[in-house]
Amino acid sequence: MGNCLKTPTTDDISLLRGNDSQESDPNLGPPPPYQERVPVYHPSPNVSRPANQLTEEEQIKIAKRLGLISHLPTGVYDGSVKKGKECVICMCDFVLGDSLRFLPCMHTYHKKCIDDWLMRAFICPSCMEPVDAALLTTYESS
């Protein structure tokens, strides 16, 4: 059985946890060639599993989740978000040029912060509103 999640494309790479650490560090030199870096996924909030150890069911769930997340609107902070200038996940103020993601419940986070969370639980951290339910409401009203 092929594992379609093993080699992520550049499209969803930003949704993967810890891809920051993949940036090359000049002090470390190249990684040993035999060490394959397998992305870690969170099929449930407290479960961490390398991509090659996911069940088929979990792979489908994650693939669907990646698709849903990609439909949520994104933007760049231009100073116009009125309430709350701080991302509650990293507790850092939004800075001009930051990539943001807007949830249907109108809560805003850094894209990187919220995507990491949404891969674990599809719930707004601030209001606990399930994002998929809110997505459906948005579709119905538009």
């Binding site: 909030p45 407290n46 961490s48 509650v88 990293c90 507790m91 850092c92 969370w117 606990m128």
Partner: protein, 153 residues
């Protein structure tokens, strides 16, 4: 080892600058992710007058996963077992990265005011709480006196 995330630094600073009444959380000198916590037993609860030591650890994944919190002081409570583990939804499946050390500790303080024997962790304690609440509260008060008020507290 990766540096301490900004969020943990900020939370620690805010905890120091604006402490919560009845709660203190001090980071360990050698590990900034490990906090020594002291919670005062809430007024009008069987734990009133007691001083309870807890440990709180922020895992590598924090704030994507919940802090690990445990009572170090012995306590008679239906939602806290003999190892000090706490049955509290926000520490498990109801965790959200919008929660903080501060809100977690406030929830634990609230749990002391409102024991919930219908969602037990310590089965024998919960049973006692349901069969004879008066007796359970009496035992909780005794344990508070014996373990949470002694010297060294």
């Amino acid at each position: 080892m990766a540096g301490l995330p900004r969020r943990i630094i900020k939370e620690t600073q805010r905890l120091m600058a604006e402490p919560v009444q009845g709660i203190s959380a001090v980071p360990d000198e050698s590990n900034s992710r490990y906090f020594h916590v002291v919670v005062s037993g809430p007024a009008d609860s069987p734990y009133e007058g007691g001083v309870f030591n807890l440990e709180l650890f922020l895992p590598e994944e924090y704030p994507m996963s919940a802090p690990k919190v445990r009572f170090m002081t012995k306590i008679y409570h239906p939602n806290i077992d003999r190892l000090g583990r706490i049955c509290l939804d926000i520490l498990k499946d109801k965790w959200s990265p919008a929660l903080q050390i501060r809100t977690v500790l406030l929830s634990i303080q609230a749990l002391l005011s409102a024991p919930n024997p219908d969602d037990p962790l310590a089965n024998d304690v919960a049973e006692q709480w349901k069969i004879n609440e008066m007796q359970a509260i009496h035992t909780a008060k005794q344990w508070t006196k014996e373990f949470a008020m002694g010297p060294g507290q």
